[in-house]
């Protein structure tokens, strides 16, 4: 297993290299620069700034310098927040996104798996249709529709929560629900499908023939196989939770990494953009690796290879 993980980690290096290179050149090919937007900075100062950040060197030199710094894990100074490094900015903003993501994941997994299992136990009855109809609604109304609605209704009209912000524990509720519901809907459908497939297997009949109770059949015999599709989905889902948080962070005014990223792209904050993209890429690659390890661990037929 250790070899498997090591090999996979080695494989991520070229991927991250490609990501860094593509991002670097995309940033430079794109029109505009970090110091364009503020009006009327004297030419001289702009040139000084550019020299300070090494932007006056030939592009290939900049690229090499950048890559060397990246190898050391140094994302460099931010252009827009001159006193701070990109590393510091990410370290500040990411925990917020992570916290939101964890709550949302918790909501998504609990709701999704419970609803999916319930639906799968009595297919084509009310206890199947009701959760699945809810799931369909969840899938069809994306976060940027439900978010404003929840914020308006529970925040402004009922006044149970603050409509936005990230100051008090209760501020976590609405964003986590908004983000979590959407993925709960997917997870419940996957759970139902996986469970239905497994519950029709011969070995479930064997378990019943042994006198196992219905709950034992579900928990001990069916769940492990039935949740495999959900686990495979967790890789993309976790990535989706991260990027999905862009919208939720915007709606609820949360100082997370998602908003930072979009803003820095608008501002042509080269180092910040590159830093966040690489950070996200690493995160997603690692998450996929974790998911693969869990998949092998759950399914004895698979081997680490």
């Amino acid at each position: 297993m250790l070899r498997f993980i090591l090999r996979r980690l080695l494989q991520t290096i070229p991927v991250l290299f490609v990501v860094a290179t593509v991002t670097f050149f995309m940033l430079r090919v794109a029109p505009g620069g970090p110091f364009d937007e503020e009006k009327r900075i004297p030419e001289e100062i702009v040139r000084k700034l550019e020299a300070h950040y090494g932007l006056d060197k030939p592009l290939w030199q900049q690229y090499l310098i950048q890559m060397k710094n990246l190898l050391r894990g140094d994302f460099g100074p931010s252009f827009k927040y001159p006193k701070r490094t990109v590393n510091e900015l990410i370290a500040d903003a990411f925990p917020v996104s992570l916290e939101l993501g964890c709550y949302a994941l918790l909501v998504a997994l609990t709701l999704g798996i419970v609803a999916g299992v319930i639906a799968s136990l009595r297919p084509n009855t009310a206890s199947d249709y009701v959760p699945m109809a809810l799931a369909m609604i969840g899938i069809c109304f994306p976060t940027f529709v439900t978010g404003p609605l929840l914020s308006n209704y529970f925040g402004l009209q009922l006044g149970w929560f603050n409509p936005g912000g990230w100051f008090f524990p209760e501020d976590r509720v609405l964003p986590a629900l908004t983000l979590g519901f959407y993925y709960a809907a997917y997870i419940s459908r996957l759970t139902r499908g996986g469970m239905l497939e497994v519950l029709n297997q011969d070995y479930i009949r064997t378990a019943r023939a042994k006198g196992a109770s219905e709950s034992r059949v579900v928990v001990r015999h069916a769940l492990k196989g039935g949740l495999l599709p959900v686990v495979s989905f967790m890789g993309p889902a976790a990535a989706g939770l991260l990027t999905g948080s862009f919208v939720v962070e915007t709606i609820f005014n949360i100082p997370g990494l998602g908003r930072f990223f979009v803003m820095s792209a608008f501002n042509r904050d080269y180092t910040m953009v590159l830093g966040t993209v690489l950070f996200y890429a690493t995160l997603i690659v690692l998450l996929n690796l974790v998911v693969d390890v869990i998949l092998v661990w759950l399914n004895p037929k698979l081997k680490f290879e």
């Binding site: 297997q201 011969d202 070995y203 042994k210 006198g211 196992a212 109770s213």
Partner: protein
């Protein structure tokens, strides 16, 4: 029937099971009655779709409901009606007093769980045995069914076992609680011929050691001949003949049984052309008032289309052929 009610371990009467599919109601089991004494071995023979498996799954209430439905009947096991007993009571019988082994050992073991966990599960469920002790029993059970290196292999997963070995594991699992009745649903069909014989011998040996009753479902009359004391022949969801094994082979009393026998290569003289039954079994979603075998029967007459019941035609020998019952034909 032949076993008197007092000594009967299991007595089934008028069992009817249907499946409600989109193509109509399939009457998979249509009025089946039989009984089984303690320690007796009973064979149930028939083609696929004849209702032999459904009969046994109905007894254990392992029919998926819906689409399946047990319409009527009773199955008394030690005074308990398996068909109407509360789920809780039935669970205490399943896997403890009545065990099953299945046709396909490849799919009947849970691929996600270690052999150990599956094998000792009946002990944990029914006898509340401490785990360590149960594992010891499990290893012994594996050794009994001839799994080599049992102490190590018990930690393995099903996919690491061959088909024959998996069926041995299934048997060990079914017998680990010393049941009074073993229902074997074509346990050798999916295996190689040589392995088939080994499994059959194994069950025979264990049956004698434990003195349990066995219901052996098969489409292979040859298997029945070497193992079972009594045979039920099923066709289209009904029993068409029931007799002791010797009688059934020596003097079959139903044209279908006769036809089945003629299609076993080993029973034919060398060079004789092997018989194949013409046509296909009837569609069970259509009503079949008369004898269901009529369209394929070499002896059928016009009056065979009227309703017919299973009747004793000779002592302890029942047939559902109207012409045999009336003494019109000798087979």
């Amino acid at each position: 029937m032949n076993a008197s009610p007092s000594s009967a371990l299991l007595s089934v009467s008028n069992l009817r099971t249907s499946f409600y599919t989109r193509n109509g109601v399939v009457r998979a089991v249509n009025g089946v009655s039989f009984s089984l004494g303690k320690g007796e071995t009973l064979g149930i023979v028939g083609e696929s779709g004849s209702g032999k498996s459904v009969t046994c799954y109905s007894l254990m209430r392992l029919i998926p409901q819906p689409p399946g439905k047990i319409e009527s009947g009773s199955a008394l096991f030690d005074g308990i009606d398996l068909l109407t007993a509360p789920e809780e009571l039935l669970r205490r019988i399943r896997g403890k007093r009545i065990s099953m082994i299945f046709q396909d050992p490849m799919t009947s073991l849970n691929p996600y769980l270690r052999i150990e966990d599956q094998l000792i599960e009946p002990l944990l469920i029914h006898e509340r045995m401490p785990r360590a002790e149960a594992v010891k029993r499990g290893i012994r059970a594996l050794e009994e069914v001839g799994v080599p290196d049992a102490a190590r292999r018990i930690r393995g997963y099903p996919h690491e076992f061959s088909g024959g070995m998996r069926q041995r594991v299934m048997i060990a699992m079914a017998l680990i609680t010393r049941p009074e009745l073993l229902i074997a649903d074509e346990p050798t069909t999916a295996l190689d011929v040589t392995v088939q014989a080994q499994i059959l011998e194994l069950v025979k040996r264990l049956q004698q050691e434990l003195g349990m009753a066995v219901i052996w479902i098969t489409h292979d009359l040859g298997v029945v001949a070497g193992f079972c004391q009594r045979v039920l022949v099923m066709y289209a969801g009904r029993i068409v003949e029931s007799a002791s094994t010797e009688r059934l082979f020596a003097r079959p009393k139903h044209p279908y049984t006769r036809a089945l026998q003629s299609s076993i290569p080993a029973l034919q003289s060398k060079g004789a052309e092997l018989y194949t039954i013409p046509g296909l079994p009837p569609d069970l979603s259509k009503p079949l008032p008369g004898c269901p075998f009529v369209p394929r029967c070499a002896f059928a007459e016009e009056h065979c289309k009227q309703p017919v019941e299973l009747m004793e035609v000779e002592p302890s020998h029942h047939s559902a052929c109207l012409r045999v019952q009336r003494g019109e034909i000798q087979l």
